[in-house]
């Protein structure tokens, strides 16, 4: 029996670990580790090891389905695509293309994301977005503004070269586990690790200095640290004068953030803020690693800018061991953003309102009437539905019914939609609300490129055939486009031909051709076919005309929801090691479910005593938006007054608020007020 090893990229997080799928007779029978992978050295976390369980899950969607009464009826592909095309066309005819929205998938390939935004825009709709809106939108907005590029500035292994690693709002030990091997190497060489998080997470085990801050107070902490750096003369004067703008206004703005003041707001000792600031500034090469704890706030963009400010005034950017590391979540969220599946950007981060952008793509796509952006973001699309402005949604590989905050409102919106089409691999909660469901191929059943958080673009081979009548997302989008009269613009024999088009339209991907994508992929920007790729960004200058980055003063603002007498506990949300995001994949993986089978809430034991809740009790958690049941886990990991719930199980987002960051439109998942009662 012939066995083949097919190279693949893990479908879970954005670390982009590679591994081989063992294939025998068109069946994926095992995994072999890819020992020469640059980021992982062959390692693979618990989710990656369980990845094959998704492929053969009983729940896989196999046939196109249309809603019929209380249930579903099977359709042929012809019928299904005709139906979708007809309904979409009718709505576009009646109320214009702005009344239709598209959600592209951060789990789909670059080629597929490129096609979804192309379809939306060729139809005249500016409303295309992806789930980056719920996760790193503040990074996209904030870092584009301050340093001209919204991506991790250094490669993952480069963390081993850092001598001070400041991890804020990231539980990488559970969510990006392979980063820890590089951090351990840095520590072996004497690096200092600082961790700021409201919880004593597994990541905090790596810390030399642990800052257990109150949720939502990151700007106070970061400004407090910047205050120390400025006032103790620890700034990098040469870097500031040669590579930045706006220092004097920025330094002035820090007046109100003396360590004592920052300490009062953040709830940690002033001395710790001073120590952390000094260590970060003095070390010869320092890195800041951050994720959802920074972005998922109504002040998310300010949080990101505050991080950027700290890196700029100390000159810790643009060289080995020194950089800003936003840890992206989904396996291809970086790519989805690079491909312009965003309301405010066309491919390559060209601004959607810029007439030059529209001209360029009109020419490239052979179509007139491309819509000027910015379109509605995914969060605003939900508003639009409730206001009657958006009548149809086409959702690819996303589960807003579980992933968005304030689930009740989202479900109301999706239920009230005139037409909802969902393209996915599983019957998610969102698919259950659809009019038409189209079965898609999983990552191992198609080919294309994925871009990891370190900007590494990797080609993944098709290992096995999809089940039933499921097709690759590329095939589905192109067939649908043909039904909508766009057949000419969507004629692609394979994924490589889409990549070829991307090479010509996205400058950073220009040299990332199919032929050059061997075993390790290529790191963008890669502007030509001789270019080796760019592991470290901003080495020569920032992506602005004069090459200078911006120092932008940010003020601390309290989170959009605070505790009250009615809701006295502060709920913060996050993830655990064996699950991934809204759980549509990991909750269908037996080996992961056996390890974390249900929704729980972490409660400080002293709070639990007052609530008369014992470890393991079933409790009801309630906020102003809804209520859900959870199992109590008593732990000192959270401070008094703070509780934590993972969002992998439906229920957590019934509680979260939809207060948003005004610039990035991201909901505030990480701060909500709640109360707990024991269920008897």
């Amino acid at each position: 029996m012939s066995k083949s090893l097919v190279p693949s990229v893990c479908p879970y997080c954005a670390a982009g670990c590679g591994f081989y799928i063992t294939v025998e007779k068109d069946k994926a029978t095992g995994i072999e580790y890819m020992l020469d992978h640059p980021a992982s050295e062959g390692a693979l976390c618990s989710k990656g090891n369980a990845a094959l369980e998704i492929i053969y899950s009983e729940d896989r969607l196999r046939h196109p389905l249309v809603r019929k009464g209380e249930g579903w009826a099977k359709l042929s592909w012809e019928e299904a695509l005709d139906l979708v095309a007809r309904r979409l066309s009718r709505i576009i005819e009646q109320s214009g293309p702005e009344s239709v929205g598209f959600l592209s998938s951060s789990k789909c390939t670059n080629e597929e994301n490129y096609l979804v935004q192309k379809l939306a825009r060729c139809l005249g709709s500016p409303n295309v977005d992806n789930c980056a809106r719920l996760c790193h939108a503040p990074t996209v907005v904030g870092l584009n503004m301050t340093v001209g590029a919204a991506a991790m500035t250094n490669p993952i292994p480069d963390l081993a070269n850092s001598r001070c690693i400041f991890i804020i709002g990231s539980n990488l030990a559970e969510n990006h586990p392979i980063l820890s091997r590089w951090i351990h190497r840095a520590k072996d060489s004497g690096a200092v690790v600082i961790v700021a998080d409201p919880r004593l997470t597994h990541t905090a085990w790596l810390a030399d200095i642990f800052l257990q801050i109150k949720p939502g107070t990151d700007v106070a902490l970061l400004n407090g640290m910047a205050h120390v750096v400025v006032n103790e003369g620890l700034t990098n004067g040469e870097f500031i004068s040669k590579r930045t703008r706006g220092y004097s206004d920025f330094a002035e703005s820090l007046r109100d953030y003396a360590p004592q003041k920052a300490s009062e707001i953040a709830g940690i000792p002033a001395g710790d803020i001073v120590r952390a600031a000094r260590a970060y500034a003095i070390s010869p090469a320092s890195s800041i690693v951050y994720s959802m704890g920074i972005t998922q706030h109504s002040t998310g963009t300010s949080n990101v800018v505050a991080i950027s400010n700290l890196a700029l005034i100390t000159g810790h950017i643009g060289r080995p061991g020194a950089g800003i590391f936003p840890l992206r979540g989904q396996n291809n969220v970086q790519g989805a953003c690079d491909m312009g599946a965003l309301a405010e950007f066309y491919p390559g981060y060209r601004r959607a309102e810029d007439p030059e952008t529209l001209e360029l793509f009109s020419l490239a796509w052979g179509t007139a009437g491309l819509p000027a952006g910015p379109g509605l973001t995914s969060t605003e699309m939900m508003d639009g539905i409730l206001e009657g402005k958006v009548r149809a949604l086409y959702i690819v590989g996303e589960d807003p019914a579980n992933s968005d905050s304030h689930s009740n409102r989202i479900r109301d919106a999706l239920e009230s939609l005139e037409f909802l089409a969902v393209q996915d691999i599983f019957p998610t909660a969102t698919a259950q609300l659809a009019d038409v469901v189209l079965p898609a191929a999983a990552w191992a059943e198609k080919e294309g490129t994925f871009t990891s958080t370190e900007r590494r673009v990797q080609w993944t081979e098709r290992a096995v055939s999809p089940p039933g009548e499921a097709r690759s997302d590329q095939e589905i989008i192109c067939s649908l486009a043909a039904k909508l009269g766009l057949g000419l613009q969507f004629k692609y024999p394979d994924a490589a031909s889409v990549l070829f088009e991307i090479n010509r339209l996205v400058p950073a991907y220009a040299g990332i051709t199919r032929e050059r994508l061997g075993s390790c992929g290529l790191v963008w920007p890669c502007p030509s076919s001789e270019h080796p790729g760019t592991p470290i960004l901003h080495a020569q200058g920032f992506k602005f005309e004069d090459g200078r980055g911006y120092l932008v003063p940010v003020k601390y603002q309290p989170a959009a929801e605070e505790v009250s007498r009615e809701y006295p506990l502060l709920l913060t949300t996050g993830r655990v090691a064996v699950h991934h995001n809204a759980g549509s994949m990991t909750r269908r993986s037996p080996s992961l479910m056996e390890r974390e089978p249900e929704l729980f809430i972490e409660i400080n034991p002293a709070d639990a005593v007052e609530l008369k809740v014992a470890n393991g009790d079933e409790v009801t958690v309630e906020s102003a938006r809804g209520r859900t049941a959870a199992k109590a886990r008593l732990t000192e990991r959270v401070k008094r007054g703070v509780v934590f719930m993972p969002f992998h199980f439906p229920g957590t987002n019934l509680l979260t608020t939809d207060a948003r960051d005004p610039h990035a439109k991201i909901p505030q998942f990480n701060v909500a007020a709640c109360r707990i009662a024991r269920r008897d």
Binding site: N49, T203, W205
Partner: protein, 145 residues
């Protein structure tokens, strides 16, 4: 030689557990234990020199093969004595016995290859060196890291 754990590196991600289970058809032999909120460690077979599981086994299904405590599944009757004989509770029985076999005949145990934190090794020298360096550091810092 068993697999050694550098406890300072374990991040409690349970990848070793899932990987071991995957390569052994659903019956894994690693268990990650959490010590309160401050540490985690996978517990698995020590491949003891004086293997008590092998002593208890009356069919010689469990036996010493050099440094490794090996298991010949075709001799196992599933009696359950080995599970009770192991002082560390790392022999499992589920119809038949199973325990860490160092993934033989593969060259390197799967847990070592998969560990994201690079915390596992069969190299006694390096594991011992790291442990002692850490202990020296602790002592010098009066019990703090």
């Amino acid at each position: 030689m068993p697999v050694y754990v550098d406890i300072s590196r374990c991040i409690g991600c349970r990848s070793c557990e899932v990987a071991c289970q995957r390569v052994h058809e659903g019956r894994g032999h690693v268990n990650v234990h959490y010590a309160g909120d401050h540490a985690a460690v996978p517990v698995f077979c020590h491949h003891c020199q004086e293997a008590m599981c092998a002593k208890a086994c009356y069919t010689s299904a469990l036996y010493k093969d050099g440094e490794r405590t090996a298991f010949a599944v075709d001799k196992c009757t599933g009696c359950g004595l080995c599970r009770l004989a192991c002082p560390f509770g790392v022999v499992w029985t589920d119809k038949l016995a199973h325990k860490c076999d160092l993934c033989s005949p593969r060259e390197t145990p799967t847990c070592i290859l998969t560990c994201p934190a690079n915390a596992l090794t069969t190299d006694y020298e390096s594991a011992s060196r790291r442990a002692r360096a850490r202990a020296a550091m602790m002592v010098a810092h009066g019990g703090r890291r």
